[in-house]
């Protein structure tokens, strides 16, 4: 194996692996401090997330959301943009999906309604990203700041819309009425049942296929189209992009639209797949979780699938921990997430010198 290859293995696989393990080790130490046996906790967590049908279903259902937001962060990252606005884009994207699923002619076929409702999510997610993108590209406002602010705006906007516009007359809670049935994405357990296999009920629905489709699409787009090339070029070097006839300003706007659109797909899993109505804070935590997923997955769709699965395990297993152990609350998931961000993001290259020295030393001949 050439040294370059070894280095890419170290960067692509070993580093994230070591970083995640360190994060888990740190979690284990925290468990010791709060008087929980880390081994037992790990057992509960893993069994809860993977040990039985229902748990696995929940894990994959959570993972689906993380795939969408992880891809969103990754696409922006390749253009050199740090999109912190996944949270808001997912929220507003959900509104787009809901508007289609609420108001489209109920007699229409699911084959038309579902793609339209998905497009609604894509479109509204993109629209929510376009203003920060424009401000970054043409006015120089930093996208990190504006996307964070847009998360708050999205939150207020959705409360207003749900309370004042979409809430059904006489209803107390701020949520919309039910989506038309044609917009419902089938549950995986129902699909299996129709083929004669019986598995436990879980919220896992066919949006997981949409997530896999978009993972492949993002991979193809970034590395196998000229537009992906332009985005990556602009992300690495503004000057080289301009030199190549690529307009970095356009790249910012277009990339953020794609990024926002991907985040906007969270709604199809949560709303079209499970709840069949629009409600407050359905997006909670997935936008920010997507940052950790993208960091851990090294902004590559394959890495993101793996990282999203891991986060699904943490979410589902964390819920089990909360249920099983008295002195653990669900917030432990947030702690673990924080540690993963710390070790995969902040301390990304912690082990690099040592790994390089042992596995890919510079040779005399090179």
């Amino acid at each position: 194996m050439t040294r370059d290859r070894r280095l890419s293995w170290i960067n692509g696989l070993l580093l994230p692996l070591f970083n995640v393990l360190t994060a888990f080790l740190a979690t284990g130490i925290i468990f010791l401090f709060i008087g929980v046996d880390p081994v037992e906790a790990t057992k509960i967590l893993i069994y809860g997330a993977l040990g039985y049908d229902e748990g696995l279903g929940y894990t994959l259902y959570y993972a689906t959301n993380f795939v969408f937001t992880g891809l969103a962060v990754a696409v922006a990252f390749h253009a050199g943009l740090f999109n912190i606005g996944g949270e808001g884009q997912a929220y507003v994207g959900g509104l787009g999906t809901a508007l289609v699923a609420l108001y489209i002619n109920p007699a229409m076929s699911a084959w038309i309604v579902i793609p339209l409702a998905i497009s609604g999510g894509l479109l509204f997610g993109a629209l929510w990203a376009i203003i920060p993108a424009y401000l970054q590209a043409y006015r120089g406002s930093h996208i990190v700041i504006t996307t964070i602010m847009f998360n708050f705006l999205a939150s207020s906007l959705m409360v207003y819309i749900l309370v004042n516009i979409l809430r059904e007359v006489g209803e107390m809670s701020p949520e919309s009425g039910d989506f038309i049935a044609a917009s419902w994405l089938p549950f995986v357990h129902d699909v299996f049942a129709s083929f004669g296999y019986k598995i436990a009920k879980s919220p896992l629905n066919l949006s997981i296929l949409v997530a896999l489709f978009f993972s492949a699409a993002v991979w193809f787009f970034l590395w196998h189209t000229r537009w992906g090339f332009a985005i990556r070029a602009a992300g690495k070097s503004n000057e080289a992009a301009i030199y190549s006839g690529i307009d970095p300003k356009k790249i910012i706007v277009v990339t953020m639209c794609i990024s926002g659109a991907l985040a906007g797909l969270v709604g199809i899993n949560e709303l079209m797949g499970v709840q069949h109505r629009l409600f407050l804070n359905f997006n909670y935590g997935y936008g920010f979780g997507g940052i950790a997923v993208a960091l851990m997955g090294r902004n590559h769709p394959v890495g993101i699938l793996i990282a999203a699965f891991l986060f699904g395990i943490l979410y589902q297993g964390g819920a089990e921990l909360d249920f099983e152990l008295q002195n653990v609350s669900r917030d432990i998931v947030v702690v673990m997430q924080g540690l993963v961000i710390l070790f995969c993001g902040g301390l990304e290259y912690l082990y690099k010198p040592i790994l390089v020295r042992f596995l890919a030393p510079v040779k005399e001949s090179e």
Partner: protein, 518 residues
């Protein structure tokens, strides 16, 4: 202090970076009160050696003596104490501090600097008189010319008690006249007993100014010579280990019709500062038009405007029948489609993307081409094949399209960029600093290729800060100073002295007014 007359002695100094043998048992002895030149190609180990002397790096093994005392610096402070001062290629000055403030930086001597400022003023006045280094002390450094800033650096070293001054490529940013002034200062310093170590790759300077010269190649010290007993040809041969053709032979230009005509260009840079004011010229087919000038006199902005990166504020450019004007701008993509190739000045930032593979760097500017795209699909196999053929045409080594661009040597990166731009058969070539940071072997190759393009009837505009390069390649030469054309001469009538005068805009007006037709 000095019992013997050896200021600095290096015995078997060895330094590895990983497995790169940067300094291989280097021996050097520098006599006190002399000017000692060290020459070598980029990457020969000169800078590493000097950084060891200045305490940035520590040698793996070997012995260093400074004025007969054993010396092992772990920080620049120790080097300063031992009497070594260094003037870096890129000045280490705080732009908005005054000269005086800059000089005491690092030796403030307490919480309040009033006293040390007063002391420094007295001391600096003395030094300035003694060495002929007059600089206004209360002016902000950013207001000074580059040559003057360099003086401040030298003063800084002397103020800190340097007996040995190391200068790394000091003339890279100077006009020939400023360089001569610098050399005059060297003589004055030498007469006062200061030892000077001059690191350079310009053989002319070595021959003119030094007493001794040491040659480095691939980490080894390969020769020591008394300057009076050697010649540039011998030094060049020692530097690269074989005979080189420093002057490329070329036939007389067969210049044809004008392919690019610039009329009264005014250009503002990215920061909105006026960089070019009222420049007109034309580039004809079968001819190389050289644009000379000290860095930062508008050539860079001109090059960017000619290639569509900067907009014109005024004037027009006619290229291949199209007219570019402030109201009718062209972007880099459109210009490429017209047949204008661009080799940028800044190879690292603009010409390539360090983290991209060679095959992707070879695609910059041409990623929309039909040959590599099939519908939405950018065909990886075609991208690779494209890179392979470019690598073969320009002998890029290693010829591996998957290797990261940053893993190629400067010369090979530049060859890949030239291949990318030359192999599409453009009509107009705009080339900036084609051989900056490139080893001598590759320089020869690149220059030959540029002349081949000329002989194939292309119009070539060459921008370079290396006068030697401008003079050996160009058929006509324009000199720019402060955004204006200060001279236009036929290459056969050009010499370094007149070009230098033009670069400093010191010629009489009648010479400036000789228009395009010279």
């Amino acid at each position: 202090m000095a019992k013997s007359n050896i200021a600095i002695e290096l015995i078997n100094v060895d330094k590895h970076f990983g497995a790169v043998h940067a300094n291989d048992k280097v021996n050097l002895s520098v006599q006190s009160g002399t000017i000692h030149g060290i020459v070598g190609e980029n990457g020969a180990g000169k800078s590493t050696l000097m950084s060891i002397l200045y305490g940035f790096y520590q040698a793996d093994s070997g012995q260093i003596k400074v004025f007969d005392k054993d010396f092992r610096a772990t920080s620049s402070r120790q080097s300063i104490e031992a009497g070594i001062g260094m003037v870096h290629q890129h000045f280490m000055l705080v732009d908005n501090f005054t000269v005086l403030e800059n000089v005491i930086l690092g030796s403030e001597g307490g919480a309040f600097i009033t006293k040390s400022l007063a002391n420094a003023r007295i001391e600096l006045t003395r030094l300035a008189k003694e060495y002929g280094l007059e600089v206004e002390l209360d002016i902000a450094v950013e207001e000074l010319s580059v040559g003057m800033q360099q003086r401040v650096e030298i003063l800084k070293g002397l103020y800190k008690g340097a007996k040995v001054l190391i200068l790394d490529e000091p003339t890279g940013v100077l006009t020939p006249q400023e360089s001569d002034e610098l050399f005059r200062i060297f003589e004055a310093l030498k007469n006062q007993g200061v030892t000077i170590i001059l690191i350079t790759h310009k053989l002319r300077e070595i021959m003119n100014i030094t007493d001794h010269v040491s040659v480095m190649r691939a980490g080894k010290m390969v020769a020591h010579r008394e300057t009076s007993k050697t010649n540039p040809e011998e030094l060049a041969e020692l530097m690269i280990g074989r005979k080189v053709l420093l002057n490329i032979k070329k036939s007389k230009a067969k210049s044809g019709k004008a392919l690019l005509t610039a009329k009264n260009l005014k250009i503002h840079n990215e920061q909105g500062l006026k960089r070019v004011s009222g420049v007109s010229f034309e580039a004809r087919s079968g001819e190389i038009l050289g644009i000379a000038g000290v860095t930062g006199n508008g050539q860079g902005s001109l090059l960017k405007a000619l290639t569509g990166i900067l907009p014109l504020s005024q004037g027009s450019i006619e290229i291949m029948g199209e007219t570019i004007s402030p109201k009718h701008p062209f972007n880099p993509k459109q210009l490429r489609e017209l047949g204008v190739a661009h080799v940028p000045e800044d190879r690292q930032k603009m010409g390539m993307i360090a983290e991209f593979s060679a095959s992707e760097t070879a695609l910059l500017g041409y990623h929309n081409d039909k040959e590599i795209n099939q519908g939405v699909w950018l065909k990886r196999s075609s991208v690779k094949a494209n890179c392979e053929s470019l690598m073969e045409a320009f002998d890029v080594r290693p010829n591996d399209p998957n290797l990261m661009s940053s893993n190629f040597s400067g010369g090979n990166q530049q060859k890949l960029i030239l291949a990318r731009e030359f192999e599409r058969d453009p009509e107009v070539l705009i080339i900036g600093q084609p051989t900056r940071g490139v080893d001598i072997g590759a320089i020869e190759f690149i220059r030959k290729r540029i002349i081949e393009m000329r002989d194939a009837g292309k119009a070539i505009i060459l921008i370079s800060v290396e006068l030697e390069e401008i003079m050996s390649l160009s058929d006509r030469i324009i000199v720019m100073c402060d955004g204006e054309i200060t001279g236009m001469v036929d290459a056969k009538d050009a010499n370094e002295a007149t070009l230098g005068m033009m670069m400093a805009n010191a010629l009489q007006p009648q010479n400036e007014q000789q228009g395009v037709e010279l």
